[in-house]
Point group: C2
Amino acid sequence: MKLDFAQVFKALGDERRIRLLNLFLQSGKKICVCEMVDALRIPQYQVSKHLKVLRNLDLVKTTREGLWVYYEANWESSECVSDLFKVIKKHFQERFNEDLQRLDERLSLREGDSCVIGYSIYEKENES
Amino acid sequence: MKLDFAQVFKALGDERRIRLLNLFLQSGKKICVCEMVDALRIPQYQVSKHLKVLRNLDLVKTTREGLWVYYEANWESSECVSDLFKVIKKHFQERFNEDLQRLDERLSLREGDSCVIGYSIYEKENES
DNA sequence: CTCCTATATGCTTATATGCGAATATAAGCA
DNA sequence: TGCTTATATTCGCATATAAGCATATAGGAG
């Protein structure tokens, strides 16, 4: 499986994909799709589509737990990719800080290490 | 001037732009457009177009000497970009080795540090 | 089996990006 | 000035990519 690095750069050439990857790199955690939707404030179908691009290039790993699918950065892909990850991790922390803040809020609602609320918070948002 | 890094990755998401940048990074030299045309074996107008993308993002610097315009990597752009350059320099040496070989052949035709032959070698190629 | 929820994918339309040919610009020289 | 060469840009066309909506899939609970 010979990796085409132009493809990797092209994948990172979309702001939302970088923001997704940045969530994984900065938090170091497995994050589920509905949590990403909250952190990035973009529709679920967009998150899934962009995750597919990252998955096809082996930049992320997935774990399914019941209905929830958790994503994390894949540091075992290749040395070049993990060197790239280090650069992003080093320089993008403050660049997308708002995403990380919203992620933290959302992660605080977990029970143990698991997401339990899905999209139910959106129903509450109608109150405001 | 706030740099959009998704744009930088998008610029590197084209194989020919990476190959151009790789020429600068591996050789460490200023290279003129007609030499790039020979090294990458793509038309001159494509080289100029791709160089424009790199120039607009401040990834390369230019020097004009008479008719010839020399390009080189711009290491002063930002720390993040120069960290990216280091990753590319480290991992792409053998990946585009043929470009570098052709560049070396072409650079050996310089007089001093200057390109002097332009596109005249193409006229000789009709013999073969 | 049926219903519900989280995630993934098709499909259609709009937008953007690519190429190649021709041409413009800019500098040197006669 | 006018000619030549190196480099840059413009234009029209084909193709690719993005957004939004609807729907499909997959797993859990009753």
